[in-house]
Amino acid sequence: MKIDRRSFLSFLIGGAAGTTLSPLPWKLMDDSAIWTQMWPWTPVPEDGESSYVNSVCTLCSGGCGITIRKIDDRAVKIEGMKGYPVNDGGVCLLGLSGLQLLYSPTRVKGPLKRVGKRGQGKWEKISWNDAISEVAKTLSDLRSKGQSHTVGIISGSDRGTVPRLFDRFLTAFGSPNLMLTPSIQDSYELTLHLMQGVQALPGFDFENTDFILSFGSGFIDGWGSPVRMFRAHSNWRSTGAKVIQIEPRLSHTAAKADKWIPINPGTEAALAMGLAHVIIKESLYDTNFVDNFSEGFYDWKRLVLGKYGPDSVATITGIDSTTIIALARGFARASKPLAICGRGQGTTPGSLHECMVVHALNALVGSINSNGGVFAVNGTEYVNWPEVEMDGIAAAGMQNERLDEAGSKKYPHSRYLLNRFPAAVNSEEKYPLQALFVAGANPLYSMPDSNAVKKAFAKIPLVVSFSSYLDETAQNADLILPNHSYLERYEDIPLPAGLLKPVIGLSRPVVEPQFNTRHVGDVIILLAKALGGNLSDAFAWDSYNACLKETLGDKWQTMVEEGFWSDPYFNTKDLETSFDTISGKFEFANQDNGFLPQFTPVKIQGDEKSYPLVLIPYDSIRLANGFIGDPPFVIKTVEDTVLKGKDVFVELNPKTARAYGLREGQRAMLSTPKGKANVKIHLFDGIMPGIVALPRGLGHTAYDDYLAGKGINFNELIGPVEDPDSGFDAAWGIRVKLAKA
């Protein structure tokens, strides 16, 4: 028998016939189809019992109620909580992406101690006991050397039990240096203090107003409590309320307004004074309020009528006088007008005068404590602990002036001036800071003049971060004592930004802590106990949760059941009793120090010759620029004209671009007195000539690959400009030079 090619072929043919008659090819076809549905990266939802937990979102100061859907032990969806007084079922982009923070690979999974150089990213795991005793040892050494005042805390908020625990800790320890991430709230707080004599935050009746005059406030770009603002904005559309947006750039907010009035940046207060001029001159103001409930009107009137005629204001602001007059009439004749300020999302306090002038406009038209107007809201008295008993060291430490000089003779009314802190540390004029704790804040990213902030941090021997995520500040810390993420912990969230009545929300654990983290409140209590003496006496609670429950008292049960507590008896509408000034009235001119709200130009950094253009930041609801960076879902929504790949676009008016020979999409080198950046050009008719706009919220070096290394951090290009009256950062931009790259 010969085996040749023919035999082989027939073997193959037989094989093929047999294979066809076997299930092999058919089964393989089916299996390969199913295999393609089984890619490891295809998300497969958990299957299990579904349940819902109500909590409060703390990713911004908006304080929305959220309802989290869970499947067994895993949180799978965040929705707005129905019936919550802030957002009633709505949720924003960042809020609904919060699960990507909870389950993020950038979570700090347990206490870490730096082993390499600062910022090198070399860490060793350390036990909680070791970490706390290490910090306690450093702190107790400082105390025994009489240097208790050289310890500082930077916190994201000063309201609620956690920030009050920081305050209490520092008081008992002997340091005045509690600092706060600044925002427009600081300016408003001080404005209410100086004009109404109250320690409170503003509440705006957006739901009932019929004329909104916004001095650059991006109310659909993340200003105030974003979800409430979206709803209010939609409501204005249906009620026919008039919306006027004043800012140099056609933001989303401006585009949705009834009228956008471009203005020379930084001259908003001048416009407000000009409007006041027309209103007073034409006797359009609310005489009942001005005559019966205000003081110092005639001093202010003299100033307004003297210097701020429409023509001179037109020269300053670049808005023609007929527009100014028409605007003033429209505002004053509306039945429930409301003026607001705080540029973009309101991340900088801005000039105190500007805020006061805008507030004075509201007073002029009688929109203080009246429907559709502004209210002073305070609701933090519930944190009412026995006074701290200071020992000798603490008392001596508290005698020292604050490093940022808030509350000093220079800035008697300001409570925190974080913007002054880097310069104070770098100049070494006062005393060197020996230890700094950072909680709920990311100063290395979010403070202006990043280089100076970095330098200041480098001078502090011990930096401790409480961050749940490996953010810029945590990356440059010596120790990270990670807090539970916001969906794993209890916390009271009082006073959502801009709300009309005191509401305390209860943020509560949705899932068990995923990693070896601890509540920052517990860590502070443990630290106090480790330090002993008066500190341990001041922190007698067993745990943070016990402290919270005890502090909230009978509100606790309501909060557990409803998700929040609100004061049923709160009423500030009575004008007779709502002002706590010397005169007992609303003060256009402060009767104590003669302070008169007016336009005080804020000179931004850089000389006109070397830096012919002006750089301003802009905010978008799609870019988180606080202590939290954009999670992947959110960064994916940023338009291609803002960020493409890793390149950020600056907006430039086509006229300006032509003068500099720049085309759409072209690369350019942007330089300011503070730094340089390589950017791309986006031509935009909606920006005034001579101005360059850069988005805030990009240029992270920390977080995941979706965010890190994309675009430029605006804070690297700008430096703070101090407001002479308050010490706040009043910089609204910086001078800049553009050159082809």
């Binding site: 028998m1 023919r6 027939s10 037989g14």
Partner: protein, 268 residues
Amino acid sequence: MSTLDDNAKAIEDNAEGEEVAISSPEINIKEQDNGAGGPVILFFIVGLFASLIVGWIIFPKLLYSKKRQPIDFNHRLHIAEVEDECESCHFFREDGTYSGVPKLEQCVECHEEVQGNSPDEIKFVEEYVSQDREVPWLVSSKQPDNVFFSHVAHVKVAEMECVTCHGLIGESESLKVYEYNRITGYSRDIWGKSIGGFKKNTWDRMKMDDCAECHEKETAGIERTDVKTPLGRLFDNLIAISFPGMEMPSNKGDSVQTERDACFVCHK
């Protein structure tokens, strides 16, 4: 199986040995049969049988891998103890969703302590109950993620028996070895034990066709000329591409199984 080529070659060969060619042409033909045709058929048969053996016997052995369940479980024993048959443990939640394989929480109600002395019972209490770990059961009936299946619609609304799809598992005294497909990762029970896809009982297979078998029966004695078959759909699409704008006959829906639009009633 001789071909023209073969013949030509034979003639050529014969030309060399002329004597043979002249003396016995018949033998030559016979030799052709034996020398070429025989092996060719033989090899064909060998190839055929070899591949049939591979396809029917070896392939399934290679395709499926076996895993043991973490612990054994006696369904028969449990069903005798409970009141509500299968639903005592495999229950519906208040919202109508189906709980599937019981969680440890349910087992612990009775098995807080070791009962009896079976080694699996001891293992269960020691390794899972006392350590509060869920048992990683291997679920034979787990369908791919792109299938929506509502137990409540079938069991409560259509009043089907569990046994129709899941077979006589309630009568088993121990869990069978879990076999899974190396390519897809799913249980062998979905395709069915028979590699050829043959079934005797309704519960032998859990592929889409098996769903369809019942759905076609239940949803109609209706004449479904108005429902597109896959081929009909292809033609319709071709017509739609070739003659854009042409009026198409209205249809009940694209799916034979559901008479509704598209596939997204049962599939994601």
